[in-house]
């Protein structure tokens, strides 16, 4: 049963990705700027233009370009089916390589932020739910509503001003490590992990120090909806029958709370998945403020310089990850909640 469900979802997902790839391909070719122009800046003669266009593969008919991109013409250039996302028109390096360099930075940032946000939000949400209508509840509710409606890039700037400029607790917003430090050899791409693998605890601490402000910013913004969700689901769970029964039995409050929490986790998982996908593209703003070289910055740069292959690659990768995350979470949810049936 489960296997069929998974296969069906994967199949649908693959189809969606395929459709998306083709759609994005055509979509961005409507961009108003001609990317060839950046190559002819010194000499805009017709011949030089033609030369540059040929180099970028833009002199081929559109459908051929699509076929090449998808990987159906390996004789011309490798494509998706061969595992290549093309070559960036800005850096000249393979997009897969670029993405493998930048994606882990973002993943690291949002994973750490998520874990901390979770750890912070659950107790807060519980606090509110266990004292419904009380002062704590109102405070928690207000916090959830407030934090969830904040512009994270602005708070990032504020934190920089406060903690770096005024208080000097945080390092300058210059990237994942201090400029004078040598980055460790990239193994996983996650700088915290890599510093440990390279046996450099001092760099590890420095990396954490540099991640401090971006993580705080994201945690603040993430905690809003999570707190709200946990509180709501806890309240609902606390009103359910089994909790009523537990209370009648005279079980201690804490035990009851734990049961309620477990029940509240299910629907929260869906939210986590959605948030993760959101953060993946939303982290661009935080990355911008703190100069972290992540996928968000890469995406912005690609869009603003009309780097077609890079845009296609980024959209594809992020969407694929989001779809995968949703699938995983749906599976987990289905697995732990016996009330969900597989359609």
């Amino acid at each position: 049963m489960l296997l069929r469900y998974v296969l069906k979802r994967l199949g649908v997902g693959a189809l969606q990705l395929a459709g998306l790839t083709v759609a994005v391909f055509f979509l961005i070719r409507w961009l108003p700027a001609d990317p060839v122009s950046r190559l002819v800046s010194m000499n805009a003669s017709d011949e030089a233009y033609a030369q540059a266009a040929a180099q970028l593969g833009l002199d081929r008919p559109l459908l051929t370009q699509l076929a090449v991109y998808l990987g159906f013409r390996p004789d011309l250039e490798p494509g998706i089916l061969q595992g290549s996302l093309g070559v960036s028109w800005v850096t000249g390096s393979a997009i897969t390589q670029d993405i493998l360099q930048f994606l882990p930075v973002t993943l690291e940032l949002i994973t750490i932020s998520f874990v901390i946000a979770f750890l912070v939000s659950i107790p807060l949400g519980m606090l509110g739910a266990l004292n419904p209508g009380g002062r704590a509840d109102k405070g928690v509710f207000f916090y959830g509503l407030f934090a969830g409606s904040q512009p994270e890039f602005w708070w990032g700037l504020l934190f920089v001003f406060l903690f770096f400029f005024k208080l000097g607790w945080a390092p300058a917003p210059l990237g994942s490590l201090s400029p004078m430090s040598m980055a460790p050899v990239p193994v996983t791409g996650f700088i915290t992990v890599d510093t440990l693998i390279a046996g450099q605890p001092r760099l590890f601490v420095e990396a954490l120090h540099h991640l401090m402000l971006p993580v705080i910013t994201l945690v603040f913004v993430l905690s809003g909806p999570i707190v709200k969700m946990v509180r709501q689901n806890m309240l609902r769970a606390l009103q359910s029958d089994f909790v009523l029964y537990a209370n009648c039995l005279g079980l201690p409050r804490r035990r009851v709370a734990r049961y309620a929490l477990r029940a509240a986790m299910g629907p929260s998982l869906t939210l986590i998945g959605i948030l993760y996908g959101f953060m993946l593209s939303g982290a661009v703003l935080v990355e911008n403020v703190f100069s972290l070289g992540g996928i968000g910055q890469y995406a912005v740069r690609s869009v603003l310089s009309f780097d077609y292959p890079a845009i296609q690659g980024v959209v594809l990768v992020i969407t694929a990850i989001s779809l995968l995350v949703y699938l995983l979470l749906d599976l987990v949810h289905a697995a732990i909640d016996p009330r969900i049936s597989h359609r």
Partner: protein
């Protein structure tokens, strides 16, 4: 996924639990929310003209800090008694010489216009499509839902950027980009509601009377399925403002010198590290309060519905 979708998802399907005693007449959240939203709407209409300076013209004073809190009462009195030649810069000026205060109160026009139009557009489209998808279950609507799924997984921010870059940085294009991003939410919400409504008794009876399916859908099912969408409206407006500001922050939103909060934060970002905090902080406070106001209102509507 966007924040609006998160908000929608966090309440979808879950039995909504009352937060406070809903019989209270004095609801602080309602008051605060309404106050904020009303102020912002008023500013959207009159903001650009009531400011002391023209929001799109520079002044000669560059990067002037705002008056310190102790000076403010004195300045207010002086200003209203007409003693001052030129009005003071209540929130200072930025690196280009724009008066921050005039621009902060002029910005709602751009932000709110975009947000309201985008929300309206996506709501109309979304509800319509959701109705069709929920009521008529065939291959076309299945396809629609799959497409909608993909659109939801699309990296929101990047797709908005691409769309705006496609057509240029104008208000119209931003509205369209945002509508594109928010429509799937309304589709999903409406469809879910329609699915549960279509099996209700009144539908059967309308059918028995010989009414066409389409008429049933529009005249009977639709009005009963609007509630989730309505609840979502206010929240979506707030998040549309955030998305617009975010787009302007990275350079893909409205064009300078249009006053817009995100753009102001962006141009001021460079100065914050030099200690000049006012060009970024005041617009940030404005956004922060505005979106919170909309979220609060949305929450109030939601709770009223639960009652």
């Amino acid at each position: 996924m966007s924040r609006a979708e998160i908000a929608a998802a966090s309440t979808e399907g879950a039995q909504r639990a009352p937060a406070f005693d809903t019989a209270r007449r004095f609801d602080p959240l309602l008051i605060v929310g309404t106050l904020i939203v009303a102020t912002v709407c008023l500013l959207a209409v009159w903001g650009p003209v009531i400011g002391p300076y023209d929001p799109t013209l520079t002044t000669a004073s560059v990067a002037v800090p705002p008056p310190s809190p102790s000076e403010v009462p004195g300045l207010l009195i002086a200003q209203f008694s007409g003693q001052l030649e030129t009005p003071p810069h209540w929130m200072g000026t930025d690196a280009n010489g724009y008066d921050v205060f005039s621009r902060v109160i002029a910005a709602p026009r751009a932000d709110l216009t975009i947000a309201l139009l985008a929300t309206a557009l996506s709501a109309i489209l979304g509800v319509g499509l959701g109705l069709l998808a929920g009521y008529f279950r065939n291959i076309a609507t299945e396809l629609l839902m799959r497409v909608s799924d993909v659109m939801q997984s699309f990296p929101v921010f990047i797709s908005a950027m691409v769309l705006v870059a496609l057509a240029g940085r104008s208000t119209t294009n931003i509205v369209i980009a945002l509508a594109f991003v928010y429509t799937p939410i309304f589709v999903r919400l409406t469809r879910a509601e329609v699915l549960s409504q279509r099996s209700r008794g009144f539908v059967e009876s309308a059918r028995a009377l010989g009414t066409s399916e389409l008429t049933i859908a529009i005249r009977h099912v639709l009005p009963n399925s609007l509630t989730p969408a309505l609840i979502q409206l206010s929240v979506t407006v707030g998040f549309a403002i955030l998305l617009t500001a975010g787009l302007s922050f990275v350079g893909a939103g409205v064009r300078p010198p249009t006053p817009e909060w995100g753009l102001m934060i962006s141009t001021g970002a460079n100065q914050i590290i030099l200690g000049e905090w006012w060009p970024s902080v005041f617009p940030g406070i404005a956004i922060s309060l505005t979106v919170f106001g909309f979220a609060a209102l949305g929450n109030v509507v939601e709770r009223r519905h639960d009652a």
